[in-house]
């Protein structure tokens, strides 16, 4: 269960990379766009899952760090002339730094207070994105020109796709290492019981702060990924609906489980497309159906889809 991930676990990542190289010329751009979207959501979801699923911290600031990732990646390129390869990691680290700063007061809070404080931070951040006209373009949004990687222009779906697969593979590998390490065990311990964890000698506060920061970095990376295949962003993208979507993805898929989270991303990420096509003549009912799906999912799979598999459920209970 713990220790470095075996090569067998890393093998599927190779398959992902192969898909990234092979699919673009074969498949219409629409499907590549959906693929890019899902990969970006996957990184967002994995980051939130670290915080909520592994460390048990009910925090909603994630979407603000996503926004920082998007705006910072673009602004570092346009205002400072940095190439994408430098701007994106810098933006992710900036998001992480802000996450660290927020974490220091936030980790003193429990459960509902943490949730609402971080939610307030996210709303405040969205207001800043909307009002800081000179930097973010304010309500009019910001145009994203095609970033390039050593001359390889990435702005379109087919061009961005392989790069996205690489980024996702790196993030998944990092997640595997993180969760299987001593750090991962600390997170689990804190999730189950902060008192017991503290009694076992784990630096609860320090770990919590670190998870916050790391999950913010994930969100920042997702923001950088957004800029690879989108040409426009406005503050609406970083609102309450988005965070609820990502939260739903990880809960429906399976909190604290990597395959579960990915399944949740695919299902809930493709849901709008499926509903739109399947319900062509009943479009106005989409909202209602979406709500029913969420409710039914929680009633019959409160541990998520991955939690349904008996072998997994026992494993999780033991951990």
């Amino acid at each position: 269960m713990y220790g470095s991930p075996s090569l067998a676990r890393l093998a599927p990542l190779l398959a992902l990379l192969v898909l990234g190289a092979v699919l673009p010329p074969l498949v219409p751009q629409y499907f590549l766009y959906l693929g890019n979207l899902l990969m970006m959501y996957a990184v967002l979801a994995l980051g939130l899952d670290l915080l909520l699923g592994w460390a048990g911290q009910f925090a909603f600031a994630h979407i603000a760090f996503f926004g920082v990732g998007v705006y910072a990646t673009v602004l570092l390129q346009t205002k400072l002339g940095l190439p994408y390869v430098v701007a994106m990691p810098a933006a992710a680290l900036l998001a992480g730094a802000i996450g660290l700063i927020i974490a220091i007061p936030a980790t003193r809070l429990r459960a509902v207070y943490l949730a609402l404080a971080t939610f307030a931070f996210a709303e405040g951040a969205q207001w800043v994105f909307n009002s800081w006209d000179t930097m973010t373009g304010g309500a009019d949004g910001i145009r994203i020109s095609s970033p390039s990687l050593f001359g390889y222009a990435m702005g379109s779906d087919p061009k961005a796709f392989p790069v996205m697969t690489v980024l996702l593979a790196v993030v998944i590998a990092a997640t595997l290492y993180l969760t299987k390490s001593k750090f991962g065990r600390s997170m689990c311990a804190i999730r189950e019981s902060e008192h017991a964890a503290s009694a076992s000698g784990i630096d609860v506060r320090g770990t919590k702060i670190l998870v916050f920061a790391i999950s913010a970095v994930y969100a920042g990376i997702a923001g950088g990924m957004y800029t690879l295949f989108n040409s426009f962003a406005n503050p609406e993208v970083f609102g309450f609906t988005q965070i609820v979507l990502v939260l739903s993805m990880i809960v429906v898929g399976g909190l604290g489980t990597l395959p579960g989270v990915l399944i949740g991303v695919v299902l809930l990420g493709l849901m709008p497309e499926i509903m739109r096509t399947a319900m062509r003549h009943l479009l106005v009912w989409q909202e209602l159906v979406y709500g029913v799906i969420l409710i039914v999912a929680m009633m019959y799979m409160p541990r998520g889809i991955w939690g349904l598999l008996p072998r997994r459920r026992r494993r999780l209970a033991r951990a």
Binding site: Y113, L116, A117, G124, L247, V251, I295, A297, M298
Partner: protein, 299 residues
């Protein structure tokens, strides 16, 4: 300037009681079941529409529409708890926290409520429920207040007192408090825990419906009016999330601050003021202005 500030403050008190009524509904659910009800705003919305239905289609007298809407939403909330939340809880192994799943279920409820209301073409346009009290505005010195506004403040305070008395003095109220503090112990002493939870959800929903009918004349009705729940959460936090009188005071503080910020700083800043206040309060005084010391929940 002073008359302006007084007017802003007075209107802020009224709007604050609006937030407070919804906040009461949220806090009751949280105190009893630990669940953050993300559908709180939508229940307010549907309560308002039930009221509108009763008034305009069924042509019931105004006081009756309160009862009609409260009864309908009581049933809705209780049913949601009985059917959905019970099932979610039932699937949790002992010791597992299923809280997140319940919260997502409330998110689902909010979509269901919004979605079902939106299907009705009548709701496409912004509508207004006629107010309970009409007539000449009341002048308190330089301050102008509508009669409906005063009604909102009075009713909010009355409801809060009634609820507080209910929880403090009646057997049912005490049973509910026991259920929230320790469900297993409550079950052991013979309190029907499941029925208690259902009752709480019913009461909270009925409360939200009453809020909806009081507020609809002031806020205007659309299927999306539930977004006000964010401000209700802010009011609840400022007051200390587990305190009922705190809701009213928190709401008033929030309403007044919003208006003063709008008056003295800029109208643009009105929308961010609540969030700054939340963050400040939680950083400086996590238990809110009126909450007791922070209690660590059972391990």
């Amino acid at each position: 300037m002073l008359p302006l500030i007084l007017q802003a403050a007075a209107s802020g008190v009224v709007t604050g009681c609006v937030y407070a009524l919804i906040a009461l509904s949220l806090v009751i659910v949280y105190k009893s079941t630990d669940v953050i009800n993300f559908a709180g705003g939508e229940i307010v919305m549907i309560g308002g529409y039930f009221g509108m239905l009763a008034l305009l289609s069924l042509e019931l007298p105004y006081v009756t529409i309160f009862l009609f809407s409260a009864a309908a939403t009581f049933a809705l909330g209780a049913a949601f708890d009985r059917v959905v939340l019970n099932t979610v809880l039932g699937r949790a192994s002992p010791g597992q926290s299923i809280l997140v799943a319940m919260v997502i279920a409330t998110v689902g409820l909010s979509y269901v409520l919004k979605g079902s209301v939106r299907v009705v073409p009548y709701t496409e346009e912004v509508r207004r429920l006629p107010p309970l009290f009409t007539g000449e505005p009341i002048f308190l010195g330089p301050v102008i207040l509508q009669r409906q506004d005063i009604a909102i403040v009075v009713i909010a305070v009355l409801i809060m007192l009634a609820l507080w008395a209910f929880f403090a003095f009646t057997l049912a109220g005490k049973a509910l408090r026991a259920t929230s503090q320790n469900p297993r112990a409550a079950a052991l002493v013979g309190i029907p825990v499941r029925r208690m939870r259902m009752t709480v959800w019913g009461i909270a929903s009925a409360l939200a419906a009453v809020a909806g009918i009081l507020l609809a004349p002031k806020l205007l009705m659309t299927p999306d009016m539930g977004v006000i729940v964010i401000l209700a959460f802010a009011a609840a936090i400022i007051g200390g999330f587990a305190s009922l009188p705190g809701c009213i005071l928190g709401g008033i503080v929030l309403g007044v601050i919003q208006n003063l910020v709008g008056l003295l700083i800029s109208s643009k800043a009105i929308s961010v003021a609540p969030f700054l206040v939340i963050m400040l309060i939680l950083v400086l005084r996590p238990q809110g202005l009126f909450g007791g010391p922070v209690v660590a929940k059972k391990v």
